[in-house]
């Protein structure tokens, strides 16, 4: 198990390298550069700026320098947020985004799995139909619809939670954005859990557990639920990717100082180093979550224990 984990971690590095390389060149292919603004700069100034940031060097040399900086943990300077390095920008925004994203995934698991289980146990009952209808709605409605709606209803009218803002991650400020972000994930996990549990409940080993005369509760929690959670665990990777992209919208809607905006602004401004920094961080995050999902697999089903 440990050697498997180590090998998987080692496998993350080449993947990350490919992501970095591809994105480095793809951004450069996009037309325009960091110093092409509405007011055109005098060519001499632009040339000076580009020389200062090393953008006048051949592309391959720039790529080499970027990699060399990266292995030392240096993401380089931001081209647009003058006086800030990319590392500083990410260090400011990432904790907020991480807090938001991880809370959303956690909430989705804590709510989605029980809801899906309940729906499966009451298959074809009003409870089941109710949960699944809301789930379809949750998947269909994007964050930029539910977010403002929640802000309007729970913030403005009911005044339960603040409409926007962060206040150093105070709980009240966290609720609406996390719920907005988690809602589609809750819905998806509930559907996955329901379908998978219904299947497991028809398997032979569950019949054996029932033949033992165990209470239904124990049959489900001890014998059926664990194998039923395998698809949910596989979904953790994609869920993280979803939460990351979803956080761009949610952070904007609720005015949160997260790092999502850097990705969008960086891309629009052709702030090459900032975009690259965000890609490296989010890429590593997704890979890590996928790795965790794989390791969880082995815990859920001993037959998948790798060696």
């Amino acid at each position: 198990m440990l050697s498997y984990a180590l090998r998987r971690i080692a496998g993350v590095i080449p993947t990350l390298f490919i992501i970095i390389t591809l994105s480095f060149f793809v951004i450069r292919i996009a037309p325009g550069g960091p110093f092409d603004d509405e007011q055109t700069l005098p060519p001499e100034i632009k040339a000076n700026l580009e020389a200062a940031y090393g953008l006048d060097k051949p592309l391959l040399e720039q790529y080499g320098r970027y990699l060399a900086g990266l292995v030392q943990g240096d993401f380089g300077p931001s081209f647009k947020f003058k006086d800030f390095s990319v590392t500083e920008l990410i260090a400011q925004g990432l904790p907020v985004s991480l807090m938001l994203g991880l809370s959303a995934v956690l909430l989705a698991l804590l709510v989605g799995i029980p809801l899906g289980t309940l729906a499966a146990l009451r298959q074809n009952s009003p409870t089941d139909y109710g949960i699944m209808s809301v789930a379809v709605l949750g998947i269909a409605l994007p964050g930029f619809v539910t977010g403002p709606l929640f802000a309007l209803v729970f913030g403005l009218h009911l005044r339960w939670f603040p409409v926007a803002g962060w206040e150093a991650g105070e709980f009240r400020y966290l609720v609406l954005p996390v719920v907005t972000l988690a809602l589609p994930v809750i819905a998806y996990i509930a559907r996955l859990t329901r379908g998978s549990l219904l299947e497991v409940l028809r398997t032979n080993h569950v019949r054996t557990a029932r033949a033992k005369g165990l209470p239904e509760r124990r049959v489900i929690l001890k014998h059926a639920l664990r194998p039923a959670l395998l698809p949910v665990v596989s979904y953790l990777g994609p869920a993280t990717a979803f939460v990351i992209t979803g956080s761009l919208v949610v952070e904007t809607v609720f005015g949160l100082p997260g790092s999502g905006r850097y990705l969008v602004q960086g891309a629009i401004n052709r702030d090459y180093t900032l975009v690259m920094g965000m890609i490296v961080v989010y890429g590593s995050l997704t890979l890590t979550l996928n790795l965790i999902a794989d390791l969880l697999y082995g815990w859920l089903d001993p037959r998948v224990r790798y060696d």
């Binding site: 398997t203 054996t208 557990a209 033949a211 033992k212 005369g213 165990l214 089903d301 001993p302 037959r303």
Partner: protein, 337 residues
């Protein structure tokens, strides 16, 4: 037989099972009656779809949700049909146990063998975890699992098929049941392991005085360990008697045909093995008369219109019941069927 005075452990009375399907209802078991005494093993034989497993799954309360059950089954004096799950769980796994036919998929993959045996001991007998583990170990040794102490902490996928079936048996025996239902316990296993498992079951039955129902399609298995045999066809018992009587001199043409289609060791080995012509009837549209009629050489007009009831033995006729208008009279079965 010495068992004939022993108290009845499991009494199945006019049990019927109907499945509601999108294509209409399907009658799987019809008026199945069978009493099994303590210390007795009754073999239940028949082709696939004859209703063998469904009858006993009904007794265990393990049928699919679209099944409707009528009739009754009693464990001692306790009725088992139409009880709610919580009540049924006072008997299931304690006094009434079942072994399933597919050891490869019938164990929970993420629990160790020890946990799976100990769990019902802890739940039903209230033992401590240590006591239950000790008993699980003893059970594994009793069902002749090699290297038992190590097996306790292994997962099912680390065990061979024969080992897993022994673990299934250990689970079924965990709380010392009065009745054991073995549903094709050896079908998935190779022949040498089959023989070992069967002799193990025979020993356990004898030592513990259990009542046992052995569901199988293999008459050789029945001949090996059963005291009596019930032959099922299209959801009904067509012949019931001691193994010796039924296998030596079958009275129902279906039983005779089944026996004739078995390979025999003293056969010359030339010529094809006799097979029963035709197909088992569609359980959605059972014939009006004898269900075996369309495949039976002796069938006449009466067989096509009137279903023969299962008639018990008259005085001095042994223990045999048979459901046939024209029972065979010969003392040895022939291969003409």
């Amino acid at each position: 037989m010495s068992q004939s005075e022993a108290p009845i452990a499991l009494d199945i009375d006019q049990l019927s099972v109907v499945f509601d399907t999108p294509d209409g209802s399907l009658s799987a078991v019809n008026d199945f009656s069978l009493a099994i005494r303590r210390g007795e093993c009754v073999g239940v034989v028949g082709e696939s779809g004859a209703g063998k497993s469904q009858s006993f799954l009904a007794v265990m309360g393990l049928l699919a949700a679209n099944a409707r059950v009528s009739g009754q089954a009693r464990l001692g004096t306790e009725p088992l049909i139409d009880r709610d799950v919580a009540e049924l769980n006072r008997f299931r796994g304690v006094k009434l146990s079942m072994i399933f036919q597919d050891p490869m998929t019938s164990l929970t993959p993420h629990m160790t063998v020890g946990e799976q045996i100990a769990e019902s001991i802890i739940h039903h007998l209230g033992s401590s975890a240590e006591a239950a583990r000790a008993r699980a170990l003893a059970l594994l040794e009793q069902v002749q699992v090699t290297d038992a102490p190590r097996r306790l902490d292994q997962y099912p996928h680390e065990l061979s098929g024969g080992m897993r079936q022994r673990v299934m048996i250990a689970i079924a025996l965990a709380c010392d049941p009065e009745v054991l239902i073995a549903d094709e316990p050896t079908t998935a296993l190779d022949v040498t392991i089959q023989a070992q498992i069967l002799s193990l079951l025979a020993t356990l039955k004898r030592e513990r005085g259990m009542a046992m129902a052995l569901i199988t399609h293999d008459l050789g298995v029945v001949a090996g360990i059963a005291d009596r045999v019930a032959v099922m066809y299209a959801g009904r018992v067509v012949e019931l008697g001691t193994v010796h009587e039924v296998l030596k001199a079958p009275k129902h043409p279906y039983t005779a045909a089944l026996l004739a289609s078995m390979p025999r060791i003293d056969d010359s080995g030339t010529g094809p093995l006799p097979a029963i012509g035709g197909q088992p009837p569609n359980p959605r549209r059972l014939p009006a008369g004898c269900a075996f009629g369309p495949r039976c050489a002796k069938a006449d007009a009466l067989c096509r219109t009137d279903r023969p009831p299962l008639v018990g033995p008259g005085p001095g006729e042994g223990t045999r019941s048979v459901a046939c208008h024209h029972p065979l009279q010969g003392t040895h079965h022939s291969r003409e069927m």
